[in-house]
């Protein structure tokens, strides 16, 4: 099997040990860093799809993501910022008062896998921290996660804080999490809602204006 094909398989299998080695080998035999990155991202896209249809579970997705990142670390020195063909910049976090990490981290990794420049602000992120991150990283998208009904008001607060800062028109807001519905997203003035990580990638691509992506709310 082609080394690139094997890299893809190792990412899907979540093989954190051998993925970096394979990437190193691919470099040695003369593949360029871009081709290798495509293989890694391609594997992660497949994982996202498997997870979306219910064939994989979150722990497996997370190990796949780690495998992908292990490979990325090897080729990173050879990729300059412009080479990475980033799709856009995302500031992502779980809202204030909410310590749920897994769903947000999953979306974060899948967005990275899809080529977004992701700034993960962690959990318990205040509206002001989201706003500062948008400013600092000139983010194209703010992605907020909330798993508690009681923390939903902070999503609204974050949007209000972005409005007051005059940043609301220059950034897209997407929201997700168990208590969040498309209607809720719409009512608080968000631009997009995604029920899961894979849809989040599709939605994010759509929000940064990539043509040819399916519209799914």
């Amino acid at each position: 099997m082609d080394v690139l094909q094997r890299i893809r398989e190792k990412v899907i299998a979540g093989d954190r040990g051998s993925t970096p080695d394979l990437v190193q080998r691919a470099l040695t035999v003369g593949h360029d860093a871009h081709t290798i990155m495509d293989a890694l991202v391609n594997g992660m896209d497949a994982v996202g799809e498997e997870w979306r249809v219910g064939n994989m579970f979150i722990p497996e997705v997370l190990t796949s993501a780690e495998a992908m990142h292990g490979g990325m670390d090897i080729i990173q020195p050879q990729l300059t910022a412009s080479d990475t063909r980033l799709r856009g910049s995302v500031a992502i976090g779980t809202v204030q008062g909410d310590l749920h990490d897994i769903g947000k981290s999953l979306v974060s990794m899948m967005l990275q896998g899809a080529g977004f420049d992701v700034h993960d602000l962690g959990v318990n992120t205040s509206p002001e921290e989201f706003m500062e991150a948008v400013k600092t990283h000139e983010a194209d998208i703010v992605a907020m996660s909330a798993l508690l009904t009681t923390t939903l008001p902070y999503m609204r607060d974050t949007i209000l804080v972005l409005e007051e800062a005059g940043l609301r028109d220059s950034v897209k807001v997407m929201v997700g999490g168990a208590p969040v519905t498309p209607e809720f997203a719409d009512s608080i003035g968000a631009d997009g809602y995604a029920p899961d990580g894979s849809t989040a990638v599709t939605k994010a691509r759509e929000l940064v204006g990539e043509p040819g992506q399916a519209t799914r709310t």
Binding site: T150, L152, P153, R156, L160, E163, E164, A165, G166, R168
Partner: protein
């Protein structure tokens, strides 16, 4: 019988009508030239021209004015110090906003609130005091905007009190102007109001004096940008709301005169052309605030497209060959020549002698306008004023004087001390039948100068200028219709698409495609130059053009038929204090209150909104006020947010006989 006197003080003409409010009949109309140096003169002349005017029978004087719009479009205004409380510099520096703000000083003061209206850090009163003391001598007004002041106006209020303690200057605070978020727009809106304060004061003082002399004692009201009326007292405090007053009044007047509820109203004045859309008899309004002359503001106004193009737009040649029309205005040469016949020979000599002398300023004169305010002027500025005391001078001739040299007259123009005259479409449209006099010789001589610069005939010059205006208006109408419905403008479109649009608007041979646009609504055109331009615009857009009776005084009619409305929004939001406990915050334009239960908060917010709207409508000079209250509720999990909107409306109070 009570009559309403409607007056429209435009950049060029001052129109007035006498209207019977019960029948809607226009009983008399009159038109005079606006006199920018002292507006009262033109208003007086316009009123004096009304046949059968009986001062005793006037029950209401209602005024619409393009003064504020023109000032913004042309960048005129008073000198302002801006105090920003709790603003983050980095937000303002994301775009060149800070640089663009037309203020004398911008100061960042520590303080400000958060999204819940909690103090982020105490107001730095000492710093504020220093800034006020340092800037008070250089400015005519202060503008104050605090971060999240719509959630808590305390810091703006403290700053306001401090300013009034240290100065007698007028103060504009952000929280009084808007209950919308966006600190940048709020600051722009405050600055805009502050800059307009001296201008509106001058206008209203002049009008009241003229009315007094004419024996008219009726209350005076102004038309706001959404077409509603306000008392002159209210307008003095929030002059920016009269931005777009002229075109809003024109749209309302056009609707009234044409008897149409769905139309595109195009009002061509001297300085600007304004496009408004009427649907079901209502003006389209922009929910996030009006954009005027490139300024994003929170001013609630009819959603108008304002183009810096009108009868008095400045026609000039740039880079030796590019014909430009507007957006700056100039006193038409025919009008300058009527007052100063000597300029005719001056221009004729220029046309004969020098091809393109003076470049883009080949026909530009400077003329003394008003008294220079008590402000320090540079030596060169003083030299300019001295030279002009003997009469208008060509700018490029003036620049050869050693004391003036390359000094710019921009500041003198901005201060209103001097005005610019030059070739305009009005000169090219000059006909004896236009009726308002003027020197034909001066208009022709100016046209010769510019035609020679371009190496074309005078008639070709006129044709190009009109084609330019017609094409521009047609494109702006199309773009407005597209942008209003989709949020996307045609103007940044790729070149190929632009060529196609061009072909549709003005068929030529360059493309092997014939395309045709068909706009569904008719165009109703008002304003003096409308008959010369709008029928051709309508033809290009595949629709018809209606120019109703009394169209030339459409704004004055709109002023006379308006009503009073005032809208107040009160915002109620939850405040999560900890696990399972929350209170509700009520944010009104007056204060922030905290209550325990949602239901009580909503009831209280409705009380506040109703009271404030009713009071504002009353202060705006309304009677028979009724208030309509609506709620917009947002469920946020177990908690809710609600915006209460109270709209108070009534009729203007008439003088009792």
């Amino acid at each position: 019988m009570r009559q309403t006197l409607g007056i429209d003080t435009g950049g060029t003409y001052t129109d007035s009508v006498l209207l019977d409010p019960s029948s809607g009949e226009v009983q008399a109309k009159s038109k005079a030239l606006t006199t920018p140096a002292d507006l009262s003169v033109g208003i007086g002349l316009s009123i004096a021209g009304l046949e059968g005017l009986n001062p005793e029978s006037i029950g209401l004087v209602s005024l619409s004015t393009t003064l504020a719009t023109n000032a913004v479009v042309e960048g005129h205004g008073g000198l302002v110090a801006l105090l920003l409380i709790g603003y983050d510099r980095s937000i303002l520096e994301l775009d060149p906003w800070d640089k663009r703000m037309p203020v004398e000083t911008t100061s960042y003061i520590r303080g400000g609130h958060d999204v819940k209206g909690e103090e982020v850090c105490p107001l730095d009163i000492e710093a504020a005091r220093e800034v006020i003391l340092a800037s008070r001598a250089q400015v005519e007004a202060f503008a104050v905007s605090g971060y999240f002041s719509v959630m808590n106006p305390d810091h703006e209020r403290v700053a306001r009190d401090l300013i009034s303690e240290l100065t007698d200057l007028p103060i504009v605070c952000g929280h009084q102007l808007s209950s919308k978020l966006n600190a940048v727009r709020r600051a722009s809106t405050a600055v805009l109001n502050a800059r307009l304060l001296p201008l509106i004061k001058r206008l209203l003082d002049a009008v009241k004096e003229v009315l007094r002399e004419a024996g008219i004692g009726a209350p005076l009201m102004l038309v706001n940008g959404d077409g509603s009326l306000v008392s002159e007292r209210a307008a003095r405090k929030r002059p920016a709301e009269t931005v777009l007053s002229g075109p809003a009044a024109s749209a309302i007047g056009a609707q009234f005169l044409a008897g149409l509820d769905d139309a595109i109203v195009v009002d061509i004045g001297g300085t600007t052309t304004d496009i408004a859309i009427l649907e079901d008899g209502q003006l389209w309004t922009n929910p996030s605030g009006a954009r005027v002359g490139g300024w994003e503001t929170h001013v609630s106004a009819a959603d108008l497209r304002t183009i810096g193009l009108g009868g008095d737009s400045h026609v000039r040649v740039e880079h030796g060959h590019e014909l430009r029309v507007g957006p700056q205005r100039a006193i038409p040469l025919c009008r300058l020549g009527a007052e100063y016949p000597a300029i005719v020979r001056d221009l004729e000599a220029a046309a004969l002698a020098g091809m393109g002398r003076g470049g883009a300023h080949s026909t530009d004169y400077l003329v003394l306008a008003g008294p220079a305010a008590d402000l320090p002027l540079s030596a060169a500025e003083q030299a300019i004023l001295r030279a002009l005391s003997a009469g208008p001078r060509l700018i490029w001739v003036l620049a050869r004087s050693p004391d003036v040299g390359s000094a710019s007259p921009d500041r003198l123009e901005a201060l209103g001390a001097v005005r610019r005259a030059g070739l305009t479409p009005t000169d090219l449209l000059w006909t004896p039948s236009a009726g308002l006099g003027g020197s034909r010789a001066a208009a022709r001589a100016g046209a010769q100068v510019v035609a020679k610069q371009l190496g074309i005939s005078e008639s070709e010059l006129a044709r190009r200028v009109f084609q330019h205006a017609i094409g521009r208006i047609a494109r702006e109408i199309i773009d407005k219709l597209v942008e209003d419905s989709t949020g996307a403008s045609l103007f940044p479109a790729p070149k190929a698409w632009d060529c196609l649009l061009q072909q549709a608007l003005r068929p030529g041979d360059s493309l092997a495609i014939d395309c045709q646009l068909q706009v569904r609504m008719p165009i109703v055109a008002v304003g003096a130059p409308a008959p010369s331009l709008l029928p051709q615009v309508a033809e290009r857009l595949g629709t018809k053009c209606i120019i109703p009776d009394h169209a030339e005084v459409g704004g004055a009619v709109g002023a006379a038929v308006g009503g009073v409305t005032h809208t107040v929004d009160v915002f109620v939001q939850p405040h999560v204090l900890g696990a399972g406990t929350a209170t509700y915050l009520i944010h009104s334009p007056e204060a922030r209150e905290e209550v325990r239960s949602f239901d009580r908060a909503v009831r209280r917010a409705e009380e506040i909104a109703t009271h404030l709207a009713r009071r504002a409508a009353y202060r705006s000079g309304a009677e028979g006020v009724s208030v309509h209250v609506s709620r917009r509720r947002l469920d946020l999990g177990t908690l809710s947010e609600v915006t209460i909107r109270a709209v108070a409306s009534g009729k203007p109070r008439l003088a009792t006989s």
